[in-house]
C-alpha cells in the first residue's frame, strides 16, 4: 500500500491510528486464509472416521446453538463497548468490555464441556482424521477466543488504572475488530462443521 494513502490532512506523517487500523484489517484478512485452511482440512477428512464416532453420533446441535448465540451476543456487547468509548463514557465501556469477556468465558466453558463429552464418547484427537481435524479447527478457534478474552480484560484494566487515555480509543476499536472476527469465524464453523454434518 502506498504510504500516502495513510497520511492525515494536516501533514505527511502517517496517522498512528490509521496505521494500526490498517494493520489490524490486513491481519484479519490473513486470518481468513488461516482459518480457511483449517476448515478445508476438516472438509477433506470429515468422512474418515475410522472406528470412532462420526459427526452425527456426537454433535449436540441445540447445545452448540446456545454457545453460538452466546458468542453472537458478545459481539453486541463489544460493539456497545466501542460505542461507549466513542462517547468517552469510560465507565459504561468497562462494563460492556467485562460483559463481553464473561460471554467469551461462557463460550469457552461450553467448548471445554463439549470436548469432555466427545472424549467420553470415544472421539479423541488421535481417534481418526475426522477427530484430528475437528479438534485442530475448534481448538485454534478457542485459542483465539481465549486471547480475545485476555485482550478485553487487559483493556478494561488499563482503563480502570487510568492508562487508557481519551485519545487511545483506537485500542478498544482494535480489540473489537479482533473479537468480531472471532465471532464471524465461528458463524462459518458452526454452519460447516456442525449444521451441515449432522
Amino acid at each position: 500500500m502506498a504510504a500516502d494513502t495513510v497520511t492525515t490532512t494536516e501533514g505527511h506523517h502517517p496517522d498512528p491510528d490509521v496505521m494500526r487500523k490498517t494493520a489490524m484489517w490486513a491481519f484479519l484478512g490473513s486470518e481468513v486464509l488461516f482459518f480457511g485452511s483449517l476448515i478445508t482440512t476438516f472438509l477433506l477428512y470429515r468422512t474418515r472416521i475410522g472406528d470412532g464416532p462420526g459427526p452425527a453420533d456426537i454433535f449436540d446441535v441445540p447445545f452448540t446453538s446456545i454457545s453460538s448465540f452466546v458468542l453472537l451476543m458478545s459481539s453486541l456487547t463489544m460493539v456497545l463497548a466501542h460505542h461507549a468509548a466513542g462517547r468517552r463514557d469510560w465507565r459504561r465501556m468497562r462494563v460492556w468490555l467485562v460483559a463481553t469477556s464473561l460471554l467469551g468465558i461462557v463460550f469457552l466453558s461450553g467448548q471445554a464441556f463439549e470436548f469432555t463429552e466427545f472424549v467420553h464418547e470415544g472421539l479423541t484427537v488421535s481417534t481418526s482424521p475426522f477427530g484430528s481435524s475437528f479438534y485442530l479447527l475448534t481448538s485454534f478457534h478457542g485459542a483465539h477466543v481465549a486471547i480475545g478474552v485476555l485482550m478485553l480484560l487487559a483493556t478494561a484494566l488499563m482503563s480502570w488504572a487510568g492508562k487508557l487515555r481519551p485519545g487511545e480509543g483506537m485500542n478498544v476499536e482494535a480489540v473489537g475488530l479482533y473479537w468480531h472476527f472471532v465471532d464471524i469465524v465461528w458463524i462459518v464453523i458452526f454452519t460447516v462443521v456442525y449444521l451441515l454434518q449432522v
Binding site: L28, G29, G36, F69, S75, L76, F181, D183, I184, L195
Partner: protein, 100 residues
C-alpha cells in the same frame, strides 16, 4: 477521525440491538431447518445463505465495514475472496464437496 469514511449515518445502540435480534432469529431458523426432514435436499443452500447473512450483518454493522474507508474493505476482501477460491480449488482437486 482524519481519514475518509462513508457518509452513511452511523448506527446507534438501538440499531445494534436490532441487528442482534435479527442474528438471534437467523440462528433459530438455522437450527429449526436442520430438524425438518422435508428440507434435506435443500438444507445445504439454505444454511449457507443464512450463515452468509449472519456473517455480513456482523461485518457490516458490528465491525462497521459499511461505514469505513474503502481501503479497509479492500484489505478484508482480499482474504474473503481469495480464501473460497483457493480452498474451493483444493477441495475440487480432491473431489470433495461441503456435503455429500
Amino acid at each position: 477521525m482524519s481519514e475518509a469514511t462513508t457518509n452513511r449515518r452511523h448506527p446507534t445502540p438501538r440499531d445494534y440491538w436490532m441487528i442482534a435480534g435479527i442474528l438471534f432469529v437467523i440462528t433459530a431458523v438455522e437450527v429449526i431447518v436442520t430438524y425438518i426432514d422435508a428440507l434435506d435436499d435443500v438444507l445445504a443452500p439454505i444454511l449457507i445463505v443464512l450463515s452468509a447473512a449472519k456473517f455480513f450483518l456482523v461485518v457490516a454493522w458490528f465491525m462497521h465495514l459499511r461505514f469505513e474507508a474503502k481501503r479497509y474493505r479492500r484489505l478484508f476482501l482480499i482474504g474473503l475472496v481469495s480464501a473460497p477460491i483457493l480452498f474451493g480449488v483444493v477441495l475440487l482437486t480432491f473431489g470433495v464437496l461441503i456435503v455429500d
